[in-house]
Each structure stands twice: as C-alpha cells, then as structure tokens.
C-alpha cells in the first residue's frame, strides 16, 4: 500500500473541504464518506475496540503490517462513521512515530472543529486519542 504523508493527506482533505459552501455540504460529504466506509470485520466488534466517550458506538481496530498501522473502524451512527473515515484516511498505513507526532490542525482548517470537536458526545477527540494510543502502544513494542 502506498499512501502519502500525513501532512499531505491532511492538506488534500483541507482542499476538498474548501470546495464546500456551507456546513450542509460538509455534512453531506461526511455522511457519504460514512456510507462508503469499508465493511468492518464483525470479529472486531468487541468491547476492547469500543472508543470511550462517544454517544454512538465507535469501534476502532488497529493492526500492524510492515511497520505501519492499519486502522479499520465502524459506528452505528453515520456521521461518526464519516469522521472516523477521514481519520482513517489520514492515519491508516502510517508509521507509529509519524502518527504520534502528527499535528492535528487540519481539523480546525476544515471548519468543522466548532461542530465536531467540542463535545465529548460525538467523540472526535476520543477517536483521535484512541488512534494515538494504538500508535504509542505499537511504538513501545518495537
């Protein structure tokens, strides 16, 4: 698998969102992303993979392949699925240390931070935290 750097993917996402005129287009995009999130292996729909602090259930699975972390995820809410889809496109296939060190300012830049990051209920922050925790865990195993 060949992915760009975290920085460059984030930039692409920011560019993408720049096209949108208002929140409803952004949300529509998130919803569509959510619907297109690849199927999640139901074996991984377990307690340990649940991200704490979301109002909906979000499952996040990570495995390491060739020194890179592959994230897969699922949620019973579609907007959460859209959010996690973006995060996966940024972080999946990256090296643990890059994930750990990644800046997260793209969230501000896509103009959704108001809408998504503030509350523990929808769990954007919780998801990012969980992604980083996996990276730290794998990094320390090396």
């Amino acid at each position: 698998m060949n992915v760009g750097s975290i920085q460059s993917i984030q930039q692409e996402i920011v560019n993408e969102f720049d096209f949108f005129d208002d929140w409803s287009e952004k949300y529509q995009y998130l919803i569509d992303l959510g619907k297109n999130l690849p199927d999640f292996n139901q074996i991984n729909r377990v307690e340990e993979n649940l991200v704490k602090g979301c109002q909906s259930n979000v499952w996040l699975h990570a495995e390491i392949i060739d020194d890179k972390i592959i994230y897969t995820a699922d949620s019973d809410a579609i907007i959460s699925k859209g959010i996690i889809s973006i995060l996966i496109s940024v972080f999946s296939g990256q090296k643990p240390e890059d994930i750990i060190n990644a800046k997260m300012d793209f969230i501000d830049k896509i103009g959704l931070s108001n809408h998504l990051s503030q509350t523990r209920a929808n769990g954007l922050l919780a998801m990012v935290k969980q992604i980083k925790i996996y990276a730290v865990a794998y990094n320390s195993k090396k």
Partner: protein
C-alpha cells in the same frame, strides 16, 4: 399567560444565535433556562450581601442568612410543606436521593425489599443498587408498559410485608409520562411502605402540594425550574428525617464537638454540613417567585398546547416514531427518525440552531426495554413557541433527506 414573546424577553439566552440561526432551545428537561430575575438576584447577592451564613452576627451575615432562610420558606410554601425545617437544601436531586439512600443503610436489612420502576433516571437506580449491595436487600423493578407507563397492576402484586420503600419518579425525563404517584403512595402506605418521589421533572411543570399527597420524601433540582445550578432540595417528613443519620460531617451540622463526643444539630442543619451554595439557594427562591408570577396554571396550559401541536406535527412527519404514550404526559417527546442514529439527528439539528438531547437520557433500562440505542428528545418549556416547533419539523425533514 403573559404573551410568550414577552416572556422570552426575560431570558437573555433565548435571543442567542447558534451556528448562524436563532437558538431553538428544546433541551429543557436537561436544564431549563434562567430568567434575568434570577440572574440579577445572584448578582445582587454577590454585590451586596455575600457572607457566610448562620454563625456570623455582623449585618452582612444576617442579611445573607435572612435571604437564605427566606428561600427555604418560599420552597416550603410553594410545595405545601408543613415545617420549614423539613426542607433540606441539597446540591441537586442526585444529592437528595443519596442523603436518603446512604441514611437508610442502618434501617434496611437483608430480608427487606426495595422497589424502583423500570423507567427511573440512573440517579434513582444506582443509589438503591448500592444500598442493596451493602445491606443484602433485594431491589425489585416495576415493569413498564409499551405505552411508557408504569404497570400499576404488576406493582400491586409486588407489595408484601418485606417491601420497605418504593422509589418512583413523578415524571419520566425520557418519555414525559406523568406517573400516578398519589395512587402509588396510597397503595404503599396501606402496605406500611414508605415512598420517595423523584420530582426532578415534575416540580418544573405543575404545582404540587406535598402534604396533600402525603409523600414521605420528595427531591428536586433548581436548575430544572429556572433556577441556578448546584442546588436543589430534599423534603422529608420530620419524623423520618430525625431518624436518618447525618449525611456529611462538618461545620453547621453539629451543636457541639469534642474529641469524646459530638452532638448533631437539629433539622435542617443536621443535613447541611459546610458552607452551602448560598447564592444558589437565593437564586432558587427567586426562580420559584418568577414561575409563580407566570403562574403554574398558565405554564401547564401553554406547555400542553405546545405538546399537542408538536405531537401532531411529528406524527405527520414521515419516518417519525414516538416512544411512550401520547396522553397524560408533560411536554417531552422522545422519538426516532427512520433508523437513523439519534446522534446523527441531533448533530444535524444543532446545525440549525436547534438544541435537543439525544441518547439514553440516563435511563438505559427504558432504552433496553424498547431495544433502541437512544432517542431524540424534544422537551418544551413555557417559553417555547409553535413557530419553533415548525423550525424543528423543517429541520427534521432536511435531516431525513441528508441522511438518505
């Protein structure tokens, strides 16, 4: 009622913009908004009377004490309570319930049974679970029915000699159901069973006379009836409160302390250890005044009208399923839209400036009963309007389209 648009002017927050739209605040069951009258009383307290109460003999302390105690009288009068010392100020409903649950530890034994309903708020479940764990008593559950009401026939059969206490909410915060508390109290008393009513939702919507219904304990929170956060009250019949041990040790709740022997103060001080939420209590009193000034009859009438309007419009909106009964309830409507997750609906409504609550509303057993992850809950207050309901319906239709 005074014109609702006039009333709205009393609430500064109601003219706020959210995400570019006018705020539509439909999360009143979580917390109600605060009128200027209450905010100003709090400001006035800090600017003119702020002082620790009871023990001081200087003028500020006397002022603050008088205002604090006059809030107690206001609550006494409003709720038809016989003695002012039967009003215990708490930090909220949860605190009030815990005073009772922890106090009952020494009175409850392993052969005793306690009864809650299936539609209680976690605050009226968990403390009793803890009490049962500590004492070995058995916690039994009155089942609910599909229409969101308590199965009163089942309840009758549950009453036996071992049942010491029944804990039921006055109104369900998730479904809006008004429970037949008078009937429950009478049935229980015939069985020599005491009753605690969780009035967190009831107190805000109608005037209730606690002496008349002869309830043993009643609890509520100020923040649900236009008052400040961090304050509420516990009512208990004095003979019951006398028997309860103090909840917390500290200043104010003792009459004498030596290392050999400490004597507790009389009611209500026994339960008000430490410096209380003085400004909060004073604000609570002001909130009671404010709401009485609007008039509870008016409040009820307006809210019922809104409820009917909103229910009708929701029922006509494709994909909406309302949970619980549609009669004998306060202006709370819990629903889902098609099979969309409530949090998706809530997030999109928020973009339209509409604040609703989504999720389990601290009533997981109700959600388990209906086998759903949660609901969208619209809770209407006397300051809401029909045109706000129209905005909700529009927004729901748009959400439906977006979510496809």
């Amino acid at each position: 009622m005074k014109d609702v648009y006039k009333i709205r002017e009393d609430f500064p927050i109601l003219s706020k913009k959210i995400n570019g739209s006018d705020l539509v605040y439909f999360d009143n069951a979580a917390t109600s908004q605060t009128p200027t009258h209450v905010i100003q009383k709090i400001v006035e307290y800090y600017e003119n009377h702020n002082s620790n109460i009871h023990r001081g003999l200087h003028s500020l302390s006397a002022d603050a004490t008088n205002q604090y105690e006059s809030s107690r009288k206001k609550i006494q009068n409003h709720f038809g309570i016989k003695n002012d010392y039967e009003v215990i100020f708490t930090s909220g409903t949860t605190h009030g319930i815990n005073i009772v649950s922890s106090g009952l530890e020494s009175q409850i034994g392993s052969s005793d049974e306690l009864i809650v309903s299936e539609m209680e708020h976690h605050s009226n479940i968990v403390p009793w679970q803890i009490l049962c764990e500590k004492t070995g008593a058995k916690l039994r559950v009155i089942p609910m029915k599909d229409n969101g009401s308590i199965d009163i026939e089942a309840f009758k059969k549950m009453l036996n000699n071992n049942v010491k206490f029944v804990f039921v909410n006055h109104v369900s915060n998730s479904l809006g159901t008004i429970n037949p508390i008078k009937e429950i109290i009478d049935l229980s008393h015939k069985n020599k069973t005491k009753v605690l009513i969780d009035g967190a939702q009831g107190a805000a919507h109608f005037k209730i006379n606690l002496s008349e219904i002869d309830v043993d304990y009643y609890v509520a929170s100020a923040h649900k009836l236009c008052g400040p956060t961090g304050v509420g009250f516990l009512y208990g019949k004095s003979e019951l409160l006398e028997e309860l041990p103090p909840y917390q040790g500290g200043g104010e709740m003792i009459s004498s302390v030596t290392f050999e022997k400490t004597e507790y103060a009389d009611l209500p001080h026994k339960f008000e250890a430490g410096t209380p939420n003085i400004s909060g209590v004073i604000g609570f009193g002001a909130a009671i005044d404010y709401m009485n000034n609007i008039g509870f009859d008016n409040i009820e009438a307006h809210e019922q009208e809104l409820l009917k309007y909103a229910t009708d419009r929701l029922n006509k909106t494709p994909g909406i399923k309302i949970y619980g009964d549609q009669v004998n309830k306060i202006s709370v409507i819990s629903f889902n839209l098609s099979n969309h997750h409530p949090s998706d609906i809530g997030s999109i409504l928020d973009q339209f400036g509409i604040a609703v609550r989504t999720g389990q509303h601290c009533t997981q057993p109700i959600m388990d009963y209906y086998k759903i992850p949660g609901t969208v809950r619209v809770s209407l207050s006397f300051y809401n309007t029909k045109s706000e309901i129209d905005l909700l319906i529009d927004a729901l239709e748009k959400a439906s389209t977006m979510l496809g």
